[in-house]
């Protein structure tokens, strides 16, 4: 067959495609996908959230017969945290792979770069692993991680309220993650007529934080917030231990409060407190957490349970719940309606989930303190409303 004719047929087929059923949903399968970091600064997080997170729950669901008779298939591409690669990957997923929805992409710049495109093409963007409030107010977006302004509110209200602290400082990563937290801290402290007494930025990827720690010590805050990544966060704790700065309470942000940061900091992490967004992936005895660890043991016995894979696992779980409720005639529009209708749903992992028209799926955290190298829970789930 001549090339031109083949091309014409291809074009005709493409033109006819939208008239058929919902893209990404066939009689036997639902295709989900996402662009994520498999290389670059957040490669570990990205791999855990997708291959050992989303795909872990997908295996559980598929082995149990799928969603209303359809199996889930996932496609993930590497963007290395570069926005332009995330745009290219997302377009490929939508236009070539024909995905139904984007699930669990990571990082504010790559995710935000795809917002307009996905909105124009009416493709749901489900549970991105990022906390900037910039994703609020989009019809096709459901946020994942508890957004930074909610985290800040829980942290400040708890520390100023029950704990009665008065002076605060922060060491933060000099990018959108750090600055979003800083803005929220200032706003929440202002409600209590307080303000940050000192703030010190750290460049992304920097490992020497001695100058910042020394300056913060001179400001004598009762509480010092750490809004950093695991490497720089652990370095800050070690530096504090080295110079013998003991009269401040170190408090880590939600994204930082994880096992990796603990392992890197070693005994310098003793006594550090923080906001935990997830139950302890290794020790929690909640029913959902036990099921998560059993699934990990069954499908990926070599992979340690951790918060990142848990977040991806939870994202797939929430999608499954929404898709089940949407029924056999699953479309993007009725997925959105059914997700919006979730009220008091018990996942066995987080407190009952209610998603309203604001599309925020998570709004909780609880307080933890490091005791003998593990996070010990100090409070029940805190409220951010």
């Amino acid at each position: 067959m001549p090339f031109v004719i083949r091309c014409l047929i291809a074009v005709a087929l493409l033109a006819a495609a939208p008239a058929a059923a919902q893209q990404g949903v066939s009689d036997t399968e639902i295709v989900l996908g996402g662009s994520n970091s498999f290389s670059g600064p957040l490669a570990f997080t990205g791999e855990q959230a997708t291959k050992f997170g989303v795909d872990l729950y997908v295996r559980v669901v598929n082995d149990a017969g799928g969603i209303n008779g359809r199996k889930i298939r996932t496609v993930f591409y590497d963007d290395g945290y570069r926005p332009q690669d995330a745009v290219a990957n997302t377009r490929k997923l939508v236009e070539q792979d024909g995905i139904f929805a984007v699930i669990a992409p990571q990082g504010t710049p790559p995710v935000v770069a795809t917002l307009d495109y996905l909105g124009q093409n009416k493709v749901p963007l489900l549970f991105p692993f990022q906390g900037s409030p910039i994703v609020r107010g989009h019809r096709y977006v459901f946020s994942g991680m508890t957004l930074y302004d909610r985290q800040s509110k829980m942290m400040i209200d708890y520390l100023v309220g029950p704990r009665k602290y008065k002076t605060f400082a922060a060491i933060y990563q000099d990018d959108e993650y750090g600055k979003a937290f800083l803005t929220a801290f200032e706003k929440d402290l202002a409600r209590h007529n307080l303000k940050l007494t000192a703030t010190e930025p750290v460049k992304r990827g920097a490992t020497d934080v001695s100058a910042q720690v020394a300056k913060l010590q001179a400001a004598k805050p009762q509480v010092t917030f750490l809004v950093l990544t695991p490497g720089a966060g652990a370095q800050t704790l070690k530096e504090r231990q080295k110079i013998g700065w003991t009269d401040t309470l170190m408090v880590s942000s939600g994204p930082l409060t994880d096992e990796r940061y603990l392992a890197l900091a070693g005994d310098a992490a003793e006594g550090v407190e923080g906001l935990s967004l997830w139950p302890d992936p290794v020790t929690s005895d909640l029913a959902g957490m036990k099921a998560y660890r059993e699934a990990m043991q069954k499908y990926f016995p070599k992979n340690e349970p951790n918060r990142y894979s848990l977040s991806g696992y939870f994202a797939a779980m929430l999608f499954t719940e929404g898709a089940k409720r949407a029924g056999r005639g699953l479309t993007r529009e009725n997925l959105i309606t059914s997700l919006e209708g979730i009220k008091g749903w018990d996942s066995g992992i987080l407190p009952p989930i209610t998603i309203g028209s604001d599309h925020e799926t998570q709004r909780q955290g609880f307080w933890v303190k490091v005791d003998k190298g593990r996070f010990q829970q100090l409070t029940e789930w805190l409220k951010s409303d």
Binding site: C7, A10, V11, L14, S35, F38, S39, A43, E47, K51, V75, F76, Y77, D78, D79, G80, Y81, R82, P83, Q84, D85, V87, A88, N89, R91, K92, E95, Q96, T108, P109, P110, V112, A113, D116, Y117, S132, I134, D174, D175, E176, K179
Partner: protein
């Protein structure tokens, strides 16, 4: 004659591409065109005057942000003028940067350009009021008069038109007195100076022209991707550009285009290999350098010579590789 026919055929394919290829490949082709313009610009600097730059992501960023901010604050300016201005602003920065770099060569120049790339990213982060810093900047749709270039096809044709003009410009430049001066500088600065080539002037000029090309490409990049953030312009992007010209062939305009196409498509195709992407990419590069030390154009030339050689395939393979 055969070359002309091939060129006409290629041009025809490029013109009808949006009507033949699926939508995603129209976008990908636009990306190839943008990268081709950067690669040509970099090749004019590195391939022709032997000044290696690891900071072209910085120039791309200047062009991209200039175009985005112009479109945002002065939407009346037609897109062609916006792209020209993006190129000019970048060229001015390139000239200003090129003058102090005259004293540097080899590794030291590579270091300085590497630092330039970092400085630009820091500047974008710290000029938050203008660039919106780490939050990123949404780029409005480009307009050509009353006609918004909102579709993939429209953006593709814009990129194609600009690329064709810039390729023709580069071809002419390299065959002119300026191009010969560039090559003379590459071969030996002292010899060029002795033959009456004002070395300092031409080396600075090379920086300016290279920056202009990259700045225009930056403008196209902004409209194509639709969102700018400092994370887009990391050092690995600069390295990708260097890879494009080495892979395609140093000192060759067609080589730059081929190199840009190969690297862009490869990057795209390898995204599915997730964490193996850098590994596979690296392995392919090492293999290319081992078996095609002169880049793709060098290998094609050697192959053509072997095919047209009177003794056919019987000639010793090592003689044609030299």
């Amino acid at each position: 004659m055969r070359v002309r026919a091939a060129l006409a055929g290629l041009m025809l394919i490029l013109l009808v591409w949006p009507w033949m290829a699926p939508r995603y490949f129209v976008f990908l082709a636009s990306l190839v065109l943008v990268n081709a313009v950067v690669a040509i610009g970099l090749n004019l600097l590195s391939g022709y005057t032997n000044q290696l730059s690891f900071g072209h992501a910085g120039f791309l960023a200047i062009g991209a942000y200039t175009a985005a901010l112009l479109t945002l604050h002065a939407p009346a300016i037609p897109v062609v003028a916006t792209l020209m201005l993006a190129g000019l602003v970048t060229a001015i920065v390139g000239l200003a940067f090129g003058v102090p770099c005259l004293r540097l060569s080899g590794l030291y120049l590579a270091m300085a350009t590497l630092a330039f790339g970092f400085v630009i990213v820091e500047a974008i982060l710290n000029l938050g009021a203008l660039t919106r810093g780490a939050d990123g900047l949404s780029v409005p749709v480009a307009r050509l008069g009353a006609w918004p270039l909102a579709s993939d096809t429209a953006r593709y044709y814009l990129a194609l038109a600009v690329t064709v003009v810039l390729v023709a410009g580069a071809m002419n430049l390299t065959r002119s007195r300026v191009g010969r001066a560039f090559l003379a500088i590459r071969e030996s600065e002292i010899a060029a100076q002795a033959s009456g080539v004002p070395v300092a002037l031409y080396k600075t000029l090379a920086f300016g022209v290279s920056a202009f090309y990259t700045g225009v490409a930056g403008g196209l990049f902004a409209f194509l991707v639709g969102f700018l953030s400092p994370d887009a312009f990391d050092v690995f992007l600069s390295v990708d550009f260097v890879v494009m010209i080495i892979l395609g062939g140093l000192g060759s305009v067609p080589g730059s285009i081929v190199g840009a196409a190969v690297v862009t498509v490869l990057n795209d195709a390898l995204a599915a290999f997730q964490n193996y992407r850098p590994l596979i990419f690296g392995a392919i590069l090492i293999a290319c350098m081992l078996f095609m030390p002169g880049g793709i154009t060098g290998a094609v030339r050697a192959l053509a010579r072997r095919v047209t050689a009177p003794s056919g395939g019987r000639s010793c393979p090592s003689s044609s590789a030299a």
